[in-house]
């Protein structure tokens, strides 16, 4: 009988998370992105305790105060105040909650729906696949913001409807990624082996195929958060998303339109907040994609 000596003890390779971190950490941009994202997350989590004021506290006596380092500014309002005296710093901190909530909710919705659609389309093929993919193609041909506006116009303005609209708009990306990954997986021998052993459809789809499709989904999801935040901000700017007095960053921009020349800080800081957060998520997503890509493994 084959001796056990033929199979010496395996040297324990590094744990998968450790290996993943090793690849990820070599990308300085990705680590920066991760740090900023974590910072924004903490900010959002502890907003009521960090923010100096409530976001809706108005103080007409100090409206349009410049930031603390400019002439006329004070340390009571580090980033200045807006037209009705609300502290911009506090509104930004509270706005982080909204922006992150929007980003995460949209991504969760679209990942769930997109994965199920892509999985079933790639698994069953045939007419169902054609129908799903053509529907996704139609969604893709329409300019995303326009489509979101149309959906919100139908459903009525508001944060929930804006999130739904954005989720529908980004859905095709997840469906396509999932379907492509599923089709590749279906041709693998281990799926054939499982099918031969009598595995039913559900087990094949969720137990054998789906776990191997997660890498591109994770990358797309992290990039998707940033575009969701942008889209929601755009809708908010147009007055179709979060409604004032909500401190959502895009809505803050809308309120500040008329003050661009007079009080630059009312426009610039919400804009910067969007920029930095979106950039951070993009860097994080890029880093994840590089870390997952086996071809780059050295």
């Amino acid at each position: 009988m084959t001796t056990l000596a033929d199979t010496p003890a395996l040297i324990e390779p590094p744990h998968r998370l450790r290996e993943f971190w090793d690849y990820f950490s070599t990308n300085k941009g990705a680590v920066t992105g991760l740090v900023i994202v974590l910072g924004v997350l903490l900010m959002a989590a502890f907003a009521p305790w960090i923010a100096p004021y409530s976001p809706n506290d108005t103080d007409p006596s100090v409206f349009l105060t410049p930031p603390a380092w400019q002439a006329g500014g004070s340390s009571a309002h580090w980033l200045g105040t807006d037209a009705i005296g609300r502290d911009i710093l506090s509104r930004l901190i509270h706005g982080a909650r909204l922006s992150l909530a929007i980003g995460l909710a949209v991504v969760v919705l679209s990942v769930l729906a997109g994965t199920v659609l892509g999985l079933t389309a790639g698994y069953f093929r045939g007419v169902f696949e054609v129908a799903v993919m053509r529907l996704m193609d139609i969604i893709l041909t329409l300019p995303s913001l326009l489509l979101a506006i149309v959906i919100v116009a139908i459903l009525g303005p508001g944060l929930m409807n804006a999130m739904l609209a954005v989720a529908v708009v980004v859905l095709p990306h997840y469906v396509r990624i999932t379907r492509a990954a599923v089709i590749t997986e279906m041709s693998r021998d281990y799926v054939t082996a499982a099918r031969m052993n009598g595995a039913g459809h559900l087990r094949l789809m969720f137990n054998e195929v789906l776990p191997n499709c997660t890498a591109p989904l994770i990358v797309q999801a992290s990039l998707g958060i940033s575009s969701a935040i942008l889209d929601a901000a755009a809708l908010g700017f147009l007055g179709l998303g979060a409604q004032p007095p909500s401190p959502e960053w895009g809505t803050m921009l809308a309120d500040a339109r008329e003050f661009v020349l007079r009080a630059w800080w009312v426009v610039t800081f919400p804009g910067l907040a969007i920029l930095i957060t979106v950039l951070a998520f993009n860097l994080l997503g890029d880093g994840l994609r590089d870390a997952f890509d086996p071809k780059l493994k050295r």
Partner: protein, 334 residues
């Protein structure tokens, strides 16, 4: 775990009987043209007894992989009879085919693609039991561990992932998985082709040991005649979907009667004292397209002994000198 000791009697019932198996694929050529018909397997018949190995030999495009897929129930034959453990596969209902899964299992060629990279070895081995039996988790784990030991792996391998193993070890795991439902027949599709020589030897030894201990029948697909000569009892040589020669291994290797078998044997580089010129039969040309097979004998386009009769009439498989051969000119080689 004690495995039933199967004693093989000479008159044991065959595990698999195939008669005139055919597989035709329809290749769509768009809406405007009628579909093409690809004859992947054209009328192959064989029998495999318990404890014996039938090797199916041929090059790419000969239909041996399609044959493997038919016998392992992945595909249903277009026509012909296929009997597994007494049950007719073609006529069986879906439920019957479901139970037949326990009779035949498949070992794949590529050790790096046949194991799910996201599952631990234990889970991979237990999956067939989960789906097909009512054993509880403890019993399943016990059987999985016992199977690991049977194929020469260590108990701690139960918790590892496939990428931590070498090609040879993965093939052992694949063989272990195939044995979980205690099949009577294992279809092995080029199981050692992707392995180094020294690892190949280990896996071949394992297969031989398991065959002896468990009384397994093997349908062994291979293009490597050195391996076939070592492991097979019977040989079936295929070319372009047809069986050109089949019978006992020793008989065929000692005196191949079909020109294709002769060319295969002559083309296999062996160690005959380096530089010594072997009787070389180098075939001209390439394999014809299976969509457009030659009329008459399928080998006529490349055969060094071809005559007019070969182009006109397709030779039938007939008994000659202790084996079956499909060639008009076979007598001249005896």
């Amino acid at each position: 775990m004690s495995l039933p000791d199967k004693t093989i009697e000479a008159s044991a019932a065959p595990v698999v009987v195939a008669r005139d198996l055919k597989q035709v694929y329809k290749i769509s050529r768009g809406v405007m043209h009628p579909a093409d018909h690809l004859q992947a397997v054209s009328g192959v018949s064989f029998t495999v007894l318990p404890g014996k190995t039938l090797a199916v030999v041929g090059e790419s495009g000969c239909g041996k992989s399609t044959l493997a897929r038919m016998v392992s129930l992945i595909e249903v034959p277009t026509s012909g009879e296929l009997t597994l453990d007494g049950v007719d596969v073609v006529k069986a209902s879906a439920a019957e085919r479901h139970t037949l899964r326990r009779t035949v299992q498949l070992v794949f060629q590529n050790p790096f693609g046949s194991l799910n990279p996201r599952k631990k070895i234990g889970a991979i081995l237990e999956a067939p039991l989960e789906i097909n039996t009512t054993l509880d988790a403890k019993a399943r784990a016990e059987q999985a561990r016992a199977m690991l030991a049977l194929v020469g792996l260590r108990p701690e391998h139960y918790d590892r992932y496939p990428h931590m193993f070498s090609g040879g070890q993965r093939q052992r795991i694949a063989i272990a998985r195939a044995l979980m439902l205690k099949p009577a027949l294992i279809v092995a599709d080029e199981p050692v082709s992707a392995l180094d020589v020294s690892i190949q030897a280990q896996v071949l030894n394992l297969l031989a040991d398991l065959q002896q201990e468990l009384g397994l029948a093997y349908l062994f697909i291979s293009h490597d005649l050195g391996v076939v000569r070592h492991i097979a009892h019977d040989v079936l040589v295929m070319y372009l979907g047809h069986a050109v020669e089949q019978g006992d291994k020793k008989t065929i290797f000692a005196q191949p009667l079909h020109p294709y078998t002769q060319a295969l044997l002559a083309s296999t580089p062996g160690i005959v004292g380096a530089g010594a010129p072997r009787k070389r039969i180098v075939l001209s040309g390439e394999l014809p397209s299976p969509l457009n097979p030659p009329g008459g004998c399928v080998f006529s386009t490349r055969c060094p002994h071809v005559t007019a009769q070969c182009h006109n009439a397709r030779p039938v498989l007939r008994e000659l000198a202790g084996r079956q051969v499909a060639c008009h000119l076979a007598e001249q080689f005896t």
